[in-house]
Symmetry: C2
Subunit: 297 residues, 2 copies
């Protein structure tokens, strides 16, 4: 059995669906079936129970998954460490953020790199469904979240920047003729949201109701910001963002309307309290030294 097979087995054990597993690994469903079949021949017992409607792990399969998962992860890490060492990097800090937040933070990355050349910052894409889950699962070490964040197991670090809001609308949208927008108009047009599963935090980004009590309808459940801005471009939704997205997306068909009555967003570094380490402290220190950037232009 080769590593590729292990990867397929673990992915299937997670997805419990041959087709989706194939998609995520960029191979055909038939291949998944072949590989699993071969593994079962090798092990000598079925690893999955397949009915035409559902795939379930057998007892043997469950046990194997539990055994192999940490080992597989450890393996990837070992290779990663070796590759870092070959570049003279002794450790790596993975920062999760929404991609449009990246550009505004050049000063931070540069300062950190200058102060700690032996460490490396990797920026990873956070998605709009349970980003705290990604943080808690260890997919990244630090997460750049808007405030407020109040989670017992997470530490809220320094605030990196505060940014007023703009409403993005398609250029042929009824609102596009205006020069600014109020929260109130969001009662008239659907907006987007991720599946955050954390109401107070979603509300920190955008309230569920206007001041006059009208519901702000979440029309599109998006996984990534790209989907949102695309839907804005198509005129399906309108969407408030921190204003610095205008630098990130200077798309021809999009208008940015200031939203003076929506409070500016503050973004801060968040991390799991129990896995705080030197790298995280160093990044936080660098951030504190730079102070909170005020992006108001």
């Amino acid at each position: 059995m080769e590593l590729r097979d292990i990867e397929i087995f673990l992915m299937l054990a997670e997805e419990l669906h041959f087709g989706r597993t194939a998609e995520r690994l960029y191979v055909s469903p038939a291949r998944i079936s072949q590989v699993i079949k071969a593994q079962e021949r090798f092990i000598g017992a079925p690893l999955f129970e397949r009915t035409s409607r559902a795939v379930r792990l057998t007892e043997v399969g469950r046990r194997l998954r539990d055994d192999l998962r940490p080992i597989h992860a450890g393996f990837q890490e070992s290779l990663e460490r070796a590759r870092m060492a070959s570049r003279g990097v002794s450790a790596r800090l993975r920062v999760g953020l929404m991609p449009f937040n990246f550009s505004g933070l050049w000063p931070l990355w540069k300062a950190f790199q200058r102060q700690h050349p032996q460490w490396e910052v990797q920026v990873r894409l956070a998605h709009f469904q349970e980003p705290f889950g990604q943080l808690r699962r260890g997919e990244f070490d630090v997460f750049l979240a808007w405030l407020p964040v109040e989670e017992p197991d997470l530490t809220v670090g320094p605030t990196l920047f505060t940014d007023p809001r703009v409403l993005t609308v398609a250029e042929d949208h009824p609102l596009a003729v205006r020069t600014s927008a109020t929260v109130e108009v969001l009662g008239d047009f659907p907006v987007s949201a991720g599946e955050l599963k954390l109401d107070y935090w979603e509300e920190g980004y955008l309230p569920f109701q206007t001041r006059r009590g009208r519901t702000i309808e979440r029309g599109l459940r998006a996984r990534h910001a790209d989907e949102m801005i695309t839907a804005v471009g198509m005129g399906e939704i309108v969407m408030p963002f921190p204003s610095h997205v205008a630098e990130y997306w200077n798309l021809p068909g999009i208008r940015y309307l200031p939203m003076p009555d929506l409070a500016p967003l503050s973004y801060a570094l968040i991390w799991r309290t129990e896995s705080e380490n030197d790298l995280i402290r160093a990044l936080a220190a660098t951030a504190r030294d730079l102070g909170t950037l005020n992006l108001q232009t």
Copy 2:
């Protein structure tokens, strides 16, 4: 990188010799070279320093070896456990012994299997260079050694059998005409020995000198008992064994001469005190129930 590559890397890291690595893995030396080269390209730094006379690990390579070794072992174990589970076996006890000891122990294996059908005994070949090393490294859980064994980290369990000695000689050897042999004659002909690196234990098998003080010359350093008996057949050496080997090797060209003045050998189960477990205790109990077999015929 696939598991096969890891295996090659680890084997080379142990052997530090491309040719021997290739032999042990049954591939061509060129293949080893190609694979290592590819790994170095992937990692981004040399893993081995090659001079025309020696191969050494680099710092990165050493680190990678230390990281990967336990992980690789873990993989193999996980798969092994799954395969056992598929046969309804929940654990496995690996017993190391010299192959010619195996046949006399049928009653023990059978009794153990009857008492504990959910456990499996695997017999592994112990070699004549540092067998205690194999035990300590975990290549097997229990080792069948002749006595005395006095090692601080090892437990000496029940004695399985006691067996008088025979001297094996080729049928055309000068000694073959006799009906028995004394230790004294070993001063005249070379014998074999492993590289045991443990004098008191080697001496337990065969003294270094005859009673009259003549040296018993170790003519052949053998890794396995097969090599010894082959050399005996060729007339190069003579060799004392416990007498039950006569059942194991009933080779036409070999004579077995009783050695009344060499003390019978006792074989006992030995294990690492700190890794004693239920299986080991169960095997020891079964052995005690059977009592010490007296193989004197």
